[in-house]
Every structure is written in C-alpha cells, then in structure tokens.
C-alpha cells in the first residue's frame, strides 16, 4: 500500500542528494563577509525544503486523508 505520489519520493530523494554538499566542504569563503558558505548553503537548503513541502502537501496530499 502506497498512498503517496511518486513525485513525493523523487523530491525527497533529490533533497537527500543535495544535502551532501561536498563541493563546499573546505571552502572558507564568507557570504556577505559574515556567513561561512558551508552554513549559507544549508540555510538556503532549509528554505528550499520548506518550499518543497508547500508544493507536496498542497499538490500531492494523499486522497484517503482528504476525507478525514
């Protein structure tokens, strides 16, 4: 039984891959002169995750929960 749309799993898989930002691992560049880029990347990542959940919950909310 899988009440969830395949797009949900694709979005989650994509976000899991994007989480591992090996490309900024040892980069000490400061965004705006105050925030290390490794931290700034994950701040942006958190915002992208939030937006993704907006789309997933409104577009792909499971049918069986709509009546509940």
């Amino acid at each position: 039984m899988n009440p969830f749309n395949k797009w949900i799993w694709l979005a989650i898989a994509g976000l899991l891959l994007l989480h591992h930002d090996f490309w900024f691992w040892e980069n000490d560049y400061l965004v705006g002169g105050f925030m290390p880029i490794g931290l700034a990347y994950h701040v942006v990542y958190s915002i992208v995750v939030t937006i993704t959940w907006v789309i997933l919950t409104f577009k792909f909310w499971p049918q069986d929960l709509i009546q509940e």
């Binding site: 989480h19 591992h20 040892e26 290390p36 490794g38 931290l39 701040v43 939030t50 919950t57 929960l65």
Partner: protein
C-alpha cells in the same frame, strides 16, 4: 583603597544583576503555572481529554506543540556548544537534515498514526502495535524499551536546565553558592535549578494534561523563538563591536565577530563525509518518539498536519542558525574564559549562558534565560506526560486493573475512559520517572547533552523500520517486530559498551555512528522473521490495508 572600593561596587552590581535575572525567571515560571491552571478549567474529567485533548488541536497549536517538543535544550544550549567545539558542520549534520526528515515523518508516519488512532481508539504506540499485529503481549516488549530510551532524553533536559540556570544567575547569591570558577560564582546550583524546573513542569502537566501541555508548548515556542533571535542580535552587537569598543550595525558586527574564528570552525575540514551521511539517520527517531506519537493523536483532522509539515524546516532554521553562529563566534580566542579553550567539550554546555550573562543587561538576560528554559521545558512536559500515559494505558490498565468496558466496537483497545483514578496513576508514575531522571541528572551534570541525546535518538531510530513496516507492509508479523526490538536492544548495548560514539566500516577509514549498523540489523531481522512467521488475521489486515 580605590581598588577595594571598585571591587566592592563590582560585587554589588553583580549581586543585583544576578538577582534581577532570578526574578525574571521566576515570573516566567509563574506564567507557565497560570497557563496550566487556566487549562484545568477546560479539562473534562476523562482520560481521553487529559491525555489527548479530545482530538481537538488545530494546525497552529499542532505546529507549535510539535516544534516545541522536538526542539530541546539541545537546540539552543547543545547546538551553540557543539558549534563552539566543531564549527558550522553541526547545522548540516543535525538541523537542515532534520527539517527534511522530521516533516517527512509527520507526513508519512504522523498522518497515518492519527488516522488509525482516531478510528481504532489508540492512545499509545503499544496500543497501535498490539492492535495492528494482533499481539496482546507487544506491551511487554515495547513499554520498557520506550521508557528506558526516554530517560536519557529527559536527562538532557534536566542537565541542560540546571547548567543554564547556574550560568545565567551567576552573581545572584555569592555567599550561598560559592564556586571555583568566577563565571559561575553565586549562580543557583544545578541540583536546585533542575529541581525547580522539574517541579514547575510537573505542576502544569498534572493540572493541565495534554491541553495545558499544548498551550504551554505554544507559549514557550513563541518565547524561545523570539528571544533566541534577540539573543543573537545582542550578542552579535557586543561581540562585533569595533576596536575602540563602540557598537556598530548588525552586519558589521557579524563581520567583525567572525574575523578571528579559526578556519576549522568556518569549514568542515575536520568533519568526515561518512559521519555527515551517517547523521542523516538520526532524525528518523522522530518517527518513533512516544511523546510525538501522543501529540499526533491530538490533531483535530488530517489537514491540521499540513502547517507543521511545511513550517517545521523553516522554524528549525530560525532557531538553529543564530545558535550555531554564536557558537562559532565563541571559538575565536578571547571570547570565553581562556581555560575553556583547553578543554572545549567539558565546557560546551556553558557557552550560551556565559555569553548571555556577559553581553546583555540583567532584565534581557533573565528573559533570554526564560527563552532557553522554554526550549527545554517544552520538551520535558510532553515527555513527562507520555511516560505517565504509557504506564497507565499499557501496564496499569492492561495488567493491573483491567478496563471496565470497551465502547469502541472496532477497537481491540477500546475507549477505556475510567476517569480520574487512571489520571492519578499516570501522575504517580510520572513522579517516579522524573525522580529517577533528576537523581541521574545531578550525578551526570558534567556530561555532554549532545552525546546523551545521540544515544537516545539512536535507539529510537533503531525502532523506525518497525513502525514504517507496520503502516505500509502487510507482511509484518508480531514475531518479526518483537525480534527486531530485541535486536535493537542487543546491538545498542553492544555498541554502547564496546565501541562508544563512533566506529569504522570494516576495511576502511570511514567513521560512522552506531545507528547505522543498528538500523540495518533491526531491518534485516524484522524482514527475515516476518517472512517465516504467522501474519496477523485477515480481519486485522483488512482493517488497516483494506481487503
């Protein structure tokens, strides 16, 4: 003589500053007690209302209570301390991934648990598993594990609250509470601070039940989010003041504050990739936390979950990023007492408290202390309530005092509303668990909240495959679930005593967390045993999965 006069004046100032902070904290405690008291007036005298707020919680209150419950002392005190020790990597390792995984758990696990819980009358995880797997004995396997795992979680809150109160009230009572370290002299000692916090939480949980807990959680979440940002601003302005000591704007202050931070803390040069990946499993623990299970069941309808799912990652960012930044700034030489840099791990829990005391006014310091305590107490309350609920529901009413009757014909658990006696049993068991946690908290006061929490989360993540399979796999059997629980216990104990916090993948230099092999082992055992043993009845399976 001038020197002595100045010293006396300084002592006098310190005394009054500390006292003001104590006063503000006491006012905050009084507000919480008032909230619990007001919630009492809405309380109906039955178990369902006391334990689940009669499934009446809407999206905003659900968001705030779920968020407040998942954010612990670890989110503020632990994160800033850990960033002081190891730098920015802490955010990606624990916070940004939690934003994704926690919401995923609310979506995939929480909504289903709510649906079945409301339909079949579940109150606890044991209720759910017993019903789903046709196994009256599930409680004997699951109850001790869930309670034993929640004790280190409660311990983190007890230790965190005592530590933060001591550092934030330093100077309040120098004659009563002398201390070797000047930064802690006169502060309310951890044994007393933790005791007061436990008592305040106990009182409003006792009188307000789940409704009072949800209200208090909402209030506390607002408090710690707002005051967390204010703390960040004030510390940034002070730490980043220019060479002459003059304050500058926020951006310039942040640029100044990070100038002397070592590159080990502005990059992840000392963090391994394999460990970063291994930490992705830790947030799955949210799927099996018994106190979150109970909060999920309070939702008014399925749609109430949408707001928590969406906003949880954003809220995590608001709380964690400022704390991480403050912890990173603290790693620059001269920000903290010199001796703390020699042994950062031992002093990490004191970092935030020290900076707040040093860089803010007493009233603001007291408010900020309230904010940090809010984060701690908003988790402790749900944990206290859930241990009481589990004991009453899964042990007392199941094995000691049998339910009087079953009112829900679809449920094997029933809506067993025997009213006030069970509520008092819940309260008594809560006191026992809090007393044990308090004593352990006093004994382990110097221990890292971070390490305690990770071991607790590891155990809960080890149980995650079972709850996932119970919701989505018809093939799961009671024997499979029980074998998986025993495997989790055995592997957890093995790694805890034999390897410690990290281990290496055989034949490589990849360091990982014990949670990886524990979760793999429980999954394999669960599938293997389930394939070999008898499934629940078709009637039970059709209730959950349709025919």
């Amino acid at each position: 003589m001038d020197f002595l006069a100045q010293a006396a004046a300084a002592d006098s100032d310190a005394f009054s500053d500390g006292m003001i902070r104590v006063f503000v904290i006491l006012i905050y405690f009084a507000i919480l007690l008032l909230l619990g008291g007001v919630a009492t007036t809405f309380l109906k005298k039955n178990n369902k209302d006391y334990l689940l707020a009669s499934h009446s919680i809407g999206p905003v209150l659900l968001l705030m209570s779920l968020f407040g419950t998942t954010m612990t002392s670890f989110a503020m005190v632990g994160s800033s301390g850990e960033a002081f020790v190891s730098g920015i990597g802490v955010y990606g390792k624990l916070a940004s991934i939690s934003g994704l995984i926690h919401s995923l758990c609310f979506f995939v696990i929480g909504t289903r648990i709510w649906k079945y819980g409301k339909k079949f009358g579940h109150t606890t995880q044991v209720d759910f598993f017993r019903d789903r797997l046709d196994s009256p004995r599930m409680g004997l396997f699951l109850f001790p594990v869930l309670v034993l795992l929640i004790i280190p979680y409660i311990l983190g809150g007890v230790i965190g609250s005592g530590t933060i109160i001591q550092s934030l009230t330093s100077g309040a009572f120098p004659e009563w509470f002398p201390h070797d370290q000047p930064a802690l002299k006169g502060g309310v000692p951890p044994y007393l601070g933790s005791l007061v916090v436990c008592l305040v939480v106990l009182i409003y949980v006792f009188f307000g039940g789940m409704r009072g807990t949800a209200w208090a959680n909402c209030f506390q979440t607002i408090v710690f989010m707002v005051l967390g940002v204010v703390t960040f601003y004030l510390i940034a302005i002070k730490l980043g003041s220019d060479a002459s000591g003059q304050s500058t704007d926020l951006l310039t202050s942040m640029q100044n504050a990070i100038k002397n931070v070592p590159t080990t803390h502005t990059t992840r040069s000392e963090m391994s990739h394999s460990m970063f990946i291994a930490y992705m499993l830790i947030p799955l623990s949210v799927g099996t936390f018994p106190h979150l299970f109970q909060h999920w069941l309070t939702a008014k309808n399925a749609a109430a979950f949408k707001l928590p799912i969406i906003m949880h990652p954003f809220f995590i960012m608001i709380v964690w990023v400022p704390c991480i930044m403050v912890g990173v700034w603290a790693s620059a030489p001269g920000v903290l007492p010199a001796e703390w840099y020699a042994n950062p791990s031992e002093n990490q829990n004191k970092v935030l408290g020290y900076l707040v005391t040093k860089h803010t006014t007493p009233v603001v310091g007291g408010l900020l202390a309230a904010g940090v305590l809010a984060a701690i107490m908003s988790s402790l309350d749900s944990q206290f309530l859930c241990v009481g609920t589990m004991f009453t529901n899964d042990i007392y009413r199941r094995f000691i005092k049998r339910p009087i009757g079953i009112t829900n014909p679809e449920s094997t658990n029933g809506d067993k509303s025997d009213g006030e006696p069970s509520v008092w049993v819940a309260r008594a068991f809560i006191i026992v668990i809090v007393a044990i946690s308090y004593v352990l908290g006093i004994v382990l006061v110097g221990k890292s909240i971070f390490s305690l929490s990770i071991w607790c989360f590891t155990g809960y993540t080890g149980l995650f495959p079972i709850i996932l399979a119970a919701l989505y796999w018809r093939g799961l059997t009671a024997a499979g679930a029980q074998a998986a629980i025993l495997t989790m216990i055995a592997t957890w104990c093995y790694f805890f005593f034999a390897t410690g916090d990290k281990l290496y993948v055989p034949g490589t230099d990849w360091d990982i967390l014990p949670v990886v092999p524990i979760t793999v082992a429980t999954t394999i055992v669960m599938i293997a045993v389930s394939l070999l043993t008898r499934k629940p009845s078709e009637h039970t399976l059709s209730r959950y999965f349709g025919s």
